[in-house]
């Protein structure tokens, strides 16, 4: 067990942060709202050039064959930058594909994802339905190679720019995972009306592939949240040092500095969790509960750090033209991606009777 960042990972960090700094045009710079942004193909292309989307996939499939440790440090830079990118989304879609698609399709899709010519994303959520990876209301009909889907998936992040969508649907005998290439999005909503689809997996295999893929996507989100928290805390401490009230810098007010210390403590625990999630993601099979535990730690830290960062900035914290609220917005969203914080605790609670205590070594 080694939680230290290697020199190679540091170099990657710098490369990614350089790319993002050059291409980045976050909402806060132009003073638009913190609404989740649409895909930005230019930034994505630049990241593809540095090899980021290819990191976790095997060389055989067209990836770089690095791992989630690398992807996590890259995701942290994305988190710091406040740019919205389909990093976790492509990981979920890619992981489902690597686990379920036939060899040729897998190589084609992962290769295209790695070189930026394909953008596969998952479509799992449905309106007015609480988070659940299984038992969707979108129906799949057919058999063998011939399936059609009917129903609505929404919201589907990055649907407008997606080239492929991995869709969960009810096959009548359980949850199936399907690949749709004819992506007709209205905003981030996808409505299927007998849309033809390729079955990737169903039953237990589908559920297992989906659970692992979501865990991997969750590990990426942990990395992104870590970067966002670092940036939020850094900006907050800088603000406390420089902003004056009552003739003194805010850093003279112990009620604030002690709360900043709590933010730091939460950040450091979340850092451990995010690095560990990356380690676990590189294992096979993936320990899904271990990553849920990591996300749970990050959820709580993200809430504290994000909310306190705004509070300590006062009025400017809620303005669109100031960065810190955008970081909080993203942290809020990350914690609600593929389940709410309570959902994760609920999942872990359901499994709590199955072990005496948690061993880090798996």
């Amino acid at each position: 067990m080694d939680l230290n960042i290697t020199d190679e990972q540091k170099a990657l960090t710098e490369a990614v942060s350089g790319v993002l700094a050059r291409h980045g045009n976050p909402a806060s710079n132009s003073g638009v709202s913190a609404e989740p942004a649409a895909h930005d193909p230019k930034v994505w292309e630049a990241l593809v050039e540095v090899g980021v989307p290819a990191l976790p996939w095997s060389e055989e499939d067209g990836g770089v064959g690095a791992g989630f440790a690398e992807l996590t440090v890259a995701a942290a830079e994305v988190g710091k930058s406040r740019i919205h990118l389909p990093l976790a989304e492509t990981v979920v879609a890619g992981a489902i594909i690597t686990r379920t698609a036939p060899d040729s399709l897998r190589r084609e899709l992962i290769g295209a994802l790695a070189e930026g010519s394909a953008l596969p994303v998952p479509a799992l959520d449905e309106p007015m339905r609480a988070w659940s990876p299984t038992a969707p209301t979108v129906r799949a009909e057919g058999s063998g190679e011939s399936w059609t889907l009917t129903g609505t998936k929404a919201p589907v992040r990055f649907a407008q720019d997606a080239t492929h969508v991995v869709v969960s649907a009810d096959t009548g005998s359980g949850t199936g995972l399907f690949l749709v290439t004819d992506v007709q999005a209205k905003g981030e909503s996808l409505t299927f009306e007998g849309t033809s689809a390729t079955l990737l997996a169903d039953g237990e295999q589908a559920e297992q592939a989906l659970a692992e893929a979501l865990a991997l996507g969750g590990a990426v989100l942990c990395g992104e949240a870590l970067g966002a928290m670092e940036e939020a805390l850094g900006r907050t401490t800088e603000y406390l040092r420089t902003r004056k009230q009552f003739g003194m810098p805010l850093a003279a007010f112990q009620a604030l500095t002690h709360r900043a210390a709590d933010m730091y403590a939460e950040l450091e625990l979340a850092r451990s969790a995010a690095l560990f999630a990356a380690m676990v993601a590189d294992d096979d099979p993936v320990d899904v509960d271990a990553i849920a535990r990591c996300r749970s730690v990050v959820d709580r830290a993200g809430k504290l750090v994000g909310e306190e960062a705004i509070q300590m900035h006062g009025g400017v914290g809620v303005t669109a033209e100031y960065a810190v609220g955008h970081l909080t917005a993203r942290l809020t969203q990350i914690a609600r991606t593929w389940g709410t914080p309570d959902d994760r605790v609920g999942e872990l609670a359901a499994a709590v009777g199955g072990h005496e205590s948690i061993s880090l070594l798996g």
């Binding site: 003073g31 638009v32 709202s33 913190a34 609404e35 989740p36 799992l124 959520d125 449905e126 309106p127 007015m128 339905r129 609480a130 988070w131 659940s132 038992a135 929404a154 919201p155 992040r157 209205k186 905003g187 981030e188 909503s189 004056k244 009230q245 009552f246 003739g247 007010f253 009620a255 604030l256 909310e307 705004i310 509070q311 006062g314 009025g315 914290g317 809620v318 303005t319 669109a320 033209e321 609220g325 955008h326 909080t328 917005a329 809020t332 969203q333 609600r336 991606t337 593929w338 709410t340 914080p341 309570d342 605790v345 609920g346």
Partner: protein
């Protein structure tokens, strides 16, 4: 102590309920109570209607349109108004500048301003905060220099809510830069927003909306008879006002309505074979928030509230402190009820309430910042109530 309403109060409650439910114009209630969704003209109409019925500012002196009600009756008035979805009167008018003019203004000022303030013929905004005077309000630097029978105002205000719709602004200005204590050189001035030299710059918030503004004053000439009370006594009036404002900001009625709405949504969202409200963890969050809200509501009734003898009641600080936190907790629950839908802010993709969940949550992080931040409230409690002077 007694729980049940007296016969008199029960009758009062029935009267309020009948008015707000049956008599108040339905078309004004349909748009909801979110100020941003309402047309400014609707807000004016709503308050004018209430004023006509004698229900816009019961806390004011009877002579100026207030009511001689007990605090329980004022509470019933507020509860029934909120429950019926009636857009409440503008707090800038009825809770802020109105009571200050009524308490400290000359007869002339009262006659000139109170009726139009009550009816919303004048829409007021508040000019207190400045870029370098937030929690440390007394550091404000906007100056008002006497020039004959005018003041000439220069400076900048910030976080001015709804300034873009306002007709007038009540502003704290520095009239004596050499005062021994910075609090002593401040005056309370009423300024027409159409005055030459005033510029309003909107500030976009995280939710994409514009509710707050910067207001710039450049050699704005303000007739000296628009000074409230005495020159250099403005700080006392501001403290009086903030004492009133805190009570309003407990916002129990609004939060209760929001929580009920969120619960209704939780009932509609499917989870497994049931609804999200069947989820024990979600239900527990509602149960906790309902208990918290109950305690806050009781405290609003219990703490007499408002300024006393021209001084704010420090106990009212707990209403602002906990009221704003509770509002934020409810809005956070709304996100989790929206669940996956909260990822979209687009009401063509998900229902309006779900699309609003995250932006509203983000915007209302301001609740613990404005009107005296939570930190300011804690300091007031520590010093003013607990006697903990550093």
């Amino acid at each position: 102590m007694q729980r049940r309403l007296s016969e008199e109060d029960a009758a009062f409650q029935q009267k309020m309920r009948t008015y707000f439910t049956d008599e108040f114009p339905a078309e004004l209630k349909e748009k909801g109570t979110n100020r941003n969704d309402l047309d400014p003209q609707d807000i004016r109409r709503s308050q004018a209607t209430l004023a006509e019925a004698g229900l816009a500012a019961p806390g004011w002196p009877v002579q100026w349109g207030g009511q001689d009600w007990t605090s329980l009756q004022k509470f019933i008035w507020d509860s029934e108004m909120r429950a019926a979805g009636v857009p409440p009167p503008l707090p800038f008018n009825t809770s802020m500048v109105g009571p200050v003019i009524a308490a400290f203004g000359s007869e002339e000022l009262k006659e000139r301003f109170l009726p139009k303030t009550l009816s919303c013929e004048i829409w007021w905004c508040q000019g207190f905060s400045e870029p370098d005077a937030g929690s440390d309000l007394a550091s404000l630097r906007t100056t008002a220099v006497k020039d004959g029978d005018h003041y000439v105002v220069n400076g900048q205000k910030i976080w001015t809510t709804l300034a873009q719709h306002a007709d007038w602004i009540f502003a704290l200005v520095r009239t004596d830069p050499n005062a021994e204590k910075k609090q002593r050189g401040i005056s309370f001035l009423l300024i027409d927003m159409k005055s030459e030299g005033i510029t309003v710059r909107p500030i976009k918030t995280l939710d994409g909306d514009v509710e707050v503004n910067e207001v710039f004053f450049e050699d704005v000439r303000v007739p000296a008879d628009q000074l409230v009370g005495e020159e250099n006594k403005g700080w006392d009036y501001a403290k009086f006002l903030l004492g009133n404002e805190r009570v309003g900001v407990a916002n129990v009625g609004l939060v209760k309505k929001t929580l009920a709405d969120v619960k209704a949504h939780a009932r509609e969202v499917t989870r497994g074979d049931g609804t999200l409200l069947d989820d024990p963890q979600v239900a527990a969050r509602f149960a906790r928030l309902e208990a918290d809200l109950m305690a806050l509501e009781l405290t609003v009734i219990r703490v007499s509230g408002g300024s006393k003898d021209g001084k704010p009641d420090p106990a009212s600080s707990i209403l602002k402190l906990r009221g704003s936190e509770l509002q934020q907790d409810v809005l956070e629950l709304a996100i989790d009820v929206a669940g996956p839908m909260a990822a979209s802010w687009d009401d063509s993709v998900v229902p309006q309430w779900a699309a609003d969940a995250v932006p509203t949550y983000l915007n209302f992080r301001k609740a613990t910042i404005y009107g005296g931040s939570s930190e300011v409230q804690r300091s007031i409690i520590a010093t003013g109530i607990l006697g903990l002077k550093g």
